[in-house]
């Protein structure tokens, strides 16, 4: 029994921390104290993670799996949330009376994600995803008095409810077909019975719909722009990083993990979806004059590149997850710098002449945008290079060509923002101040982006171990 408790100790710590912050929030603590408490509970959770050695075990009789992939992803979510918390502390909120609730929801969301990624059973998976969604709806609609945020929350709820409904129905069909919800058993039975039964395909598609909604893959990406546009900046940044990564992790766990599925027609379809995601994401961002929607569509485009990695076999998996790790830092950095430079006005004109008004902020923002676009010395290039390398190695030449073509289109709107910042004259010449936490977050992300760009060896070794 103690073994199971030990396994989910990090989640417990997070939940406890969240509750404590909620209580402090009620008693009127300042925002930075609450943020500090959140950071403390996150680091505590990190240290409490079960040691890497005995990872092959499982807890709660198969409900939770402790494999290397799950372990790595839990660390990934902790790091992502630390960045999100830093941004929330650095960001200038209109009114910060309900900061306690904000951090409460954030920590709960992280706990759910960590549970979802290490779940070995479809029931556990559905429950944690549903819990995460509920918390996300509230986070999206957090600013009660702002018409955009509430509309974003409602839209997210309506979309999310439908998707998880579809996924649930898919899970019931899977339960009906195989009589069990345990992923390992399902994979084993799948290998025997063959993949091509129509009901199985319906079930697979429905489950894929639920997960693809989270990972914002094309047919299910419609909500992304509106929700990110409406939600406050830190929430949008958090959505573009953590839940999206969870979507891909679960896709790998359910679909790309099972060898049977991989040898069927599935990778081909994923490649087509990847190209669709990339192209539609980048094209939509082409003529955007609202920075938030531009970054939202760029995150859809990046999701396309990650999916392209997933579609091309083992080498692709490593490339995809390397891309995801770099993506966290790049995207969080980009959202953070956009938020810190002009929190309230989101149209591109607000960023005119930012080169003079906030030289360091503009420099950081340019660095992240260039990394997102894939300029060589930065990590973004190496990530895209690995995806292209995996595609060419798997003989998906048209996929590699699509990644290249999309990079050109993507470069356009990334550069458009940089151009506006450096080449246009600013409306008003007053200095833009960025808070201390903001600079800390930008510095961490920038160091990661440049560091992994120049010396990615340690990261690649870890990934090689995970996807041995």
């Amino acid at each position: 029994m103690t073994h199971d408790i030990l396994f989910i100790l990090p989640e417990v710590v997070l939940a406890a921390g969240a509750l404590f912050i909620l209580v402090c929030g009620v008693f009127g603590c300042r925002r930075w104290l609450l943020g500090f408490l959140a950071l403390a509970s996150l680091t505590l959770a990190f240290f409490v993670l079960p040691g890497g050695s005995n990872t092959a075990s499982s807890a709660f009789s198969g409900m939770l799996m402790g494999d290397a992939f799950g372990f790595a992803m839990r660390i990934f979510f902790l790091v992502a949330t630390v960045l999100a918390v830093l941004l929330s502390m650095g960001y200038r909120w209109q009114d910060d009376d309900d900061a306690g609730e904000y951090f409460f929801f954030l920590l709960v969301a992280t706990a759910c994600m960590m549970l979802a990624v290490s779940s070995g059973n479809l029931m556990m998976l559905y429950l944690s995803v549903e819990m995460l969604s509920i918390v996300s709806y509230v986070l999206a609609g957090f600013l009660k008095r702002d018409i955009y945020s509430t509309e974003a929350g409602l839209k997210y709820f309506l979309f999310g409810a439908l998707s998880t409904g579809l996924m649930l129905y898919g899970i019931t069909l899977v339960y009906g077909l195989f009589g069990t919800l345990n992923l390992a058993d399902i994979n084993a039975r799948l290998a025997l019975s063959g993949v091509y039964a129509p009901t199985l395909i319906l079930a697979a598609v429905l489950v894929f719909a639920g997960l693809a909604f989270k990972a914002s893959i094309v047919p299910f990406h419609m909500w992304v722009a509106d929700v990110y546009d409406g939600a406050p900046w830190p929430v949008a940044a958090f959505f573009s990083v953590a839940p999206k990564a969870l979507g891909f992790a679960l896709l790998v766990r359910v679909f790309f993990g099972s060898s049977a599925l991989m040898h069927s027609g599935w990778p081909g379809i994923t490649a087509v979806l990847a190209i669709l995601t990339m192209t539609i994401g980048n094209l939509s961002a082409f003529h955007q004059d609202n920075v938030k929607r531009l970054l939202a569509f760029s995150s859809v485009g990046q999701a396309g590149y990650i999916l392209a990695g997933l579609a091309t076999g083992l080498l692709g998996l490593q490339a995809a997850f390397f891309y995801m790790i770099i993506y966290v830092f790049m995207n969080m950095g980009a959202f953070a710098s956009a938020a810190l430079l002009s929190p309230n006005r989101m149209d591109l004109a607000a960023y005119k002449g930012m080169g003079q008004r906030a030289p360091w902020g503009a420099m950081f923002f340019t660095m992240f945008l260039l990394s997102l676009a894939g300029l060589p010395p930065l990590a973004g290039f190496l990530a895209k290079f690995l995806v292209i390398r995996a595609a060419v190695e798997g003989h998906y030449f048209w996929l590699a060509a699509a990644v290249v073509l999309n990079s050109v289109i993507a470069f356009f709107y990334y550069l458009k923002v940089i151009k506006i910042m450096y080449m246009d004259k600013p409306a008003s010449v007053k200095e833009v101040a960025i808070s201390r936490d903001g600079y800390l977050l930008l510095a961490i992300s920038c160091a990661a982006v440049i560091g992994f760009g120049l010396w990615p060896k340690p990261l690649l070794d870890i990934l090689a171990v995970i996807f041995a």
Binding site: G355, L375, V404, V408, M423, L460
Partner: protein, 485 residues
């Protein structure tokens, strides 16, 4: 010095960091440190030339460390006959452009930081031996150039910067596909150009042709070859003078250097198969460039198009596929860099005084500015290939080389040369001769401007009289290159 190549590449980057620290108000200090760093790079490259062993045609001062092991990317640098002259050209033009940058008065600190990053990118491209490293340096050149043209350029600078950036980016990304494809098709998977040179020769011509196509597209845009050249005039017209010196002097050479360094050794079968089309493209470049230049009224656009026709000679040299042709094309690259760099500096001198580039506005400059007239005539004659000056030697060797392979192409090239002669002579007539216009009463070239032009004039004369001073460096490397075909 063990790591001389790495110091050469990353010294400008260090300079950029040092400049970042200096406060923006101290413009004089910024200009001085930038010039100092560029002088240091020129000094290192000079030392490199002295230490370089002519007889040995292979790679010298090579550095090779594993960088990203799993993917097979190595940090390998090396210099041989082919790249030495171009590295010297980059260092020299960089230094002179830095000196000539006193015309830049807005955002001086940003200008020099971006300029140093550009230097690192260019030097790296010529010294890298690993395909991915080559690609990385190739791309780092893009952003600084975009900023240099975009922020400090002329009226239509943003359009020109956009066009330049996306033209080159599209080409280089297709090259990235080529690089990855070559990695998987070569038997011992590797990105190093040297090991690939041995293993790709065995590939079937069709595969070599496809890979060559990917690489050639990126280089064709950069050279520029006929259909892909429309970015050059806009980029030149809008770029400030020192930037267009670098653009014409060095960036065009990265394309042709790529041809000689990557396409010839890696895809010999494809190159010999496609030599004739390459030659024909060279002639089209030559004649078309000269014709369109003749019809221009903007002096900078005219020189830009004349660079297109000079690059036609380099293509002819490469299409010859023999040692004379390669020697000729490499020498033509070096000479063209020096001469066109000087031409743009001279145009800068006039632009700074007249603030217009319309040829109609000048006339009879010879009587107003005699020293300027001498230098402009000297450089115009050098670029039209007057024997006794460096332009002729490169063109002669290229024509002699291509004559052995494709006589008809060489004859068309020689006839095309007449168009080039007419172009430059008419330019001299319109600008220098005739009676001076009404408002034409500008001061002659100052001492500083003369000191910037002088080294280029001396080099043109030296190479013209004694071409072996440059040829000796590259002869043996090219003999090895030819043996690979």
């Amino acid at each position: 010095m063990p790591h001389i190549l790495s110091t050469i590449i990353f010294l400008p980057l260090l300079g950029a960091l040092v400049l970042a620290v200096i406060p923006a108000r101290r413009e004089a200090l910024i200009r001085f440190t930038a010039a100092a760093f560029n002088a240091a790079v020129l000094g290192c490259v000079g030392a490199l030339c002295v230490l370089f062993n002519h007889q040995n045609g292979g790679m010298q001062f090579a550095e090779d460390h594993s960088w990203i092991g799993q993917v097979g990317i190595r940090y390998s640098l090396g210099v041989d006959g082919v790249s030495l002259a171009l590295v010297f050209l980059t260092a020299l033009l960089g230094f002179l452009a830095c000196l000539a940058s006193d015309r830049i008065r807005t955002k001086v600190k940003g200008y020099f930081i971006v300029f140093q990053i550009l230097m690192t990118g260019m030097l790296g491209t010529f010294l890298a031996l690993d395909l991915v490293l080559f690609y990385m340096f190739w791309e780092t050149v893009l952003i600084p150039m975009f900023f240099l043209i975009g922020i400090w350029g002329g009226p239509r600078r943003e359009y020109a910067a956009w066009k330049f950036f996306f033209y080159t980016l599209a080409g280089s990304l297709i090259m990235l596909l080529g690089i990855v494809a070559v990695y998987f098709w070569a038997e011992p998977h590797s990105f190093s150009m040297i090991t690939l040179a041995r293993s790709t020769a065995s590939l079937s011509p069709v595969v070599q042709g496809a890979l060559f196509g990917a690489f050639f597209l990126a280089f064709a845009i950069k050279i520029p070859v006929f259909p892909f050249h429309t970015w050059l005039p806009d980029a030149h017209v809008e770029a400030p003078t020192p930037v267009s010196v670098i653009l014409a002097g060095v960036l065009l050479k990265m394309g042709t250097y790529g041809l000689l360094r990557i396409c010839v050794p890696l895809f010999p079968a494809a190159m010999t198969m496609l030599a004739l089309p390459l030659g024909i493209l060279g002639v089209i470049n030559l004649v078309y460039g000269a014709c369109v230049a003749f019809a221009q009224t903007d002096i900078k656009k005219m020189i830009a198009y004349s660079s297109v026709s000079h690059m036609g000679f380099v293509l002819l040299g490469v299409a010859a596929m023999n040692s004379t042709g390669f020697n000729g094309s490499l020498l033509e690259m070096f000479n063209h860099g020096i001469i066109t760099g000087a031409m743009f500096l001279l145009v800068g001198v006039v632009y700074e005084r007249a603030h217009t580039r319309e040829i109609g506005a000048f006339g009879g400059l010879a009587s107003v500015m005699p020293r300027y007239a001498f230098f402009l005539t000297f450089m115009a004659l050098a670029s039209l290939g007057l024997p006794g000056l460096s332009g002729f030697v490169g063109e002669f060797l290229s024509l002699a080389g291509v004559f052995v392979a494709f006589p008809s192409v060489a004859i068309a090239g020689a006839v095309g040369l007449i168009a080039l002669v007419v172009l430059f002579l008419v330019m001299i007539k319109k600008m220098l001769w005739g009676s001076p216009g009404k408002g034409v009463s500008w001061p002659d070239m100052g001492l500083k401007e003369v000191c910037i032009i002088l080294p280029l004039v001396v080099i043109t004369l030296a190479v013209g009289f004694y071409p072996d001073s440059v040829l000796q460096y590259q002869k043996h490397t090219i003999d090895i290159l030819v043996k690979l075909l």
